[in-house]
Symmetry: none
Subunit: 216 residues, 4 copies
DNA sequence: CATGAATGAGTATTCATTCAT
DNA sequence: TATGAATGAATACTCATTCAT
């Protein structure tokens, strides 16, 4: 697929005037490349991604991505790690929240808030690709684990704070929350008009709160 | 991707001894073809699917899929509709449950029960593909809508039965449930060992019950 | 290597107007393709051979060789077999000789006679390539074995005829003869002017005769 | 070919701690580079050799070979001359033999003795490559001429000694002998198990002796 | 002297697609 | 109706080569 589609013209970015030491240039180039790849994957999917396209879109030559990452899988791995690492993980934007339940609910709301970042979409796509490309598994697993761990910690704090029921398993709950967040993101991408995602988001937060609530 | 992977041997099925009228043969062939395609997509993804492979795996010639469906997108559309129509939607296996909350929770448990069917996997894959292939949208949307409608009906019945809170919006709740079900399926496919999906499933059902519970 | 050399223009043969049944067309095409490949290998070596070039030179599309033989190694194997099988093995052109010593010496002289056939050169080249490409080994081994067997039979007949010494091991002698024939062919290709190959050929035949001669 | 083969890891040698004057370091580096190239050609063929690999295997940077030799052909030329010059030609290991027939037969036996040196293999490969790469011709010709000259001298001495027939042409005979030696080496590399090369070697030496023998 | 960043040309390979049988 | 021959476009990947540090 995606082969016979449109002629990809991959509008080149600024031609990246070479400056700085070898290391600087390398870092600069990697950053641009990964950003371009993230963008393209979000728009055209993994199979709609072309190594040449990535290089061109980043303002470099067609051959550079292969030169750096060896092959397409290598690039995808790098993208996955990049999203995990450098990319401002939305669950991490929690500076303004009080640790515990507030931070948990705030993070969830944040995650579901509309955004222009291509990260979530790309992540979804790479996750799906990992089903068929075993080499991507480690990177993908790590992203998931990290997110689960982060959410679980919030749940645990909320329990410790006495804000939510204490018969909840933080890890399992974190998995459920992450799963829901991801699938809602996907639904939002699929069906932008018919479903009002904001209403659904509110319903989710409300339900979550209710479910976590202490008995009394 | 998925191109340079394994030597595709597409073990041919029984060579399809021609019997019956033209129409019968055609139907028989279409059925085989679509089943083969479903299987292959589940294993290798949409891009790992080749027309020739589908024909061979179904016990026919390399050229038959193109002959029937014109092109690859045509085949994929057919697959999507096939899944929508014939695929034993697990949410539909509700014969044994009492309408209302019991049926809702039973359906959820059913959906999450381990299965060997390739349907869920293929469905996930086709859904993702529809992000980049507009032609698949209608079929994909229909599956989602149908599932949401079915779940919403159960929620509504449960409300009418007085089994759950009445301040719940059946539609939104249905979307949330479906999303969670799908994402848990995906997690199960991704991470078969580390997470005990059965425990998570139980946690989900328990939490769902709690969230829906009437106040008093 | 051979990459940066000359722009390969692979002058296309007659564009192969499609006629005949599927089988006929296929056979015709295979024949043309293998002939073209043989020619090209002789001239540019295995690495100077391009799949596209072969297709074009044979009067077909660039993609046909890969379509038939899967990959370059597959094509080379086919070439090796083709040379062995169909290609008029020069050792076999023995119709006019009396079985035994005469046929042996005649075959040797034949083999060393100047020729326009690209077979010997191509064979040498493919043999060398097999050192690095294990997949070619079986085909290459078979060619050698067949030639050795044929020569050994002649030696044996000559012994039975009482024309040559009977303490000669036919197999080993055949290996030696074949080796010398091949290396003289190679030398002839390498050094066309300085060494008078015809004189060397005569010297070889004379020496061989002397070595085989019965004591008395 | 040989491109898609194994992941080239080119195990780097000791990182070459810089010592000595510029000239010394240059010589040291050249020696390492050529040795590495010889090794690689023997194993992967000329086309399986990459400049980067040579540099790395020699313990230097990827770019050094190009820095020294300008381009790949330049490196190959240097390798060819290196083999010609420094490579311990097995025909030259004659210290222990009496000049004449004994030395001739001894040299032949030496040449055919099993060895672990990569020299012969590389030599064969470079000879073949010279068929398509004219720049390699001079170096290749020189090896051949030198070997022929050396063998011819031995033959001549044997004639002068009255050890062998005097109607033998030393030059032509030398060409025949060298050709046989080379082709037997090649056969040995190709077919290490099935043919007992030692027996064939003995048969060759015996036959050679018989052929050279004076009439009486 | 030596490294390594970056380019870009070249080729194998895969397949959807068309068309004759 | 069904097969399979043949095309040709598209892309991953490799590396020699150039050039700045």
């Amino acid at each position: 697929m995606s082969k016979a589609k449109t002629t990809k013209k991959a509008r080149a970015a600024q031609p990246a005037t070479p400056v700085g030491s070898h290391t600087e240039r390398r870092d600069e180039a990697e950053g641009r490349l990964l950003a371009a790849a993230t963008e393209i994957i979000a728009r055209h999917g993994v199979d709609g991604l072309t190594l040449g396209q990535v290089g061109t879109a980043a303002g470099y030559s067609r051959g550079l991505p292969a030169h750096y990452y060896g092959n397409k899988t290598g690039l995808l791995e790098a993208v996955a790690w990049h999203i995990t690492d450098g990319f401002a993980n939305r669950l991490a934007q929690t500076e303004n929240f009080k640790p515990g339940l507030e931070m948990l609910l705030g993070s969830v709301a944040n995650y579901l808030a509309p955004t222009t970042s291509k990260g979530p979409m790309t992540l979804q796509t790479v996750i799906m690709e990992s089903l068929t490309e075993p080499a991507l598994r480690p990177a993908v697993s790590k992203v998931t684990e990290r997110s689960v761990r982060r959410l679980a910690a919030m749940v645990r704090t909320a329990i410790d704070n006495g804000e939510i029921r204490d018969d909840i398993d933080p890890e399992k709950q974190a998995v459920l929350i992450l799963g829901t967040l991801r699938s809602l993101t996907l639904l939002g991408l699929l069906n932008p008009k018919d479903m009002r995602m904001d209403a659904i988001r509110d319903a989710y937060v409300a339900g979550l709160k209710r479910m976590l609530r202490r008995k009394g």
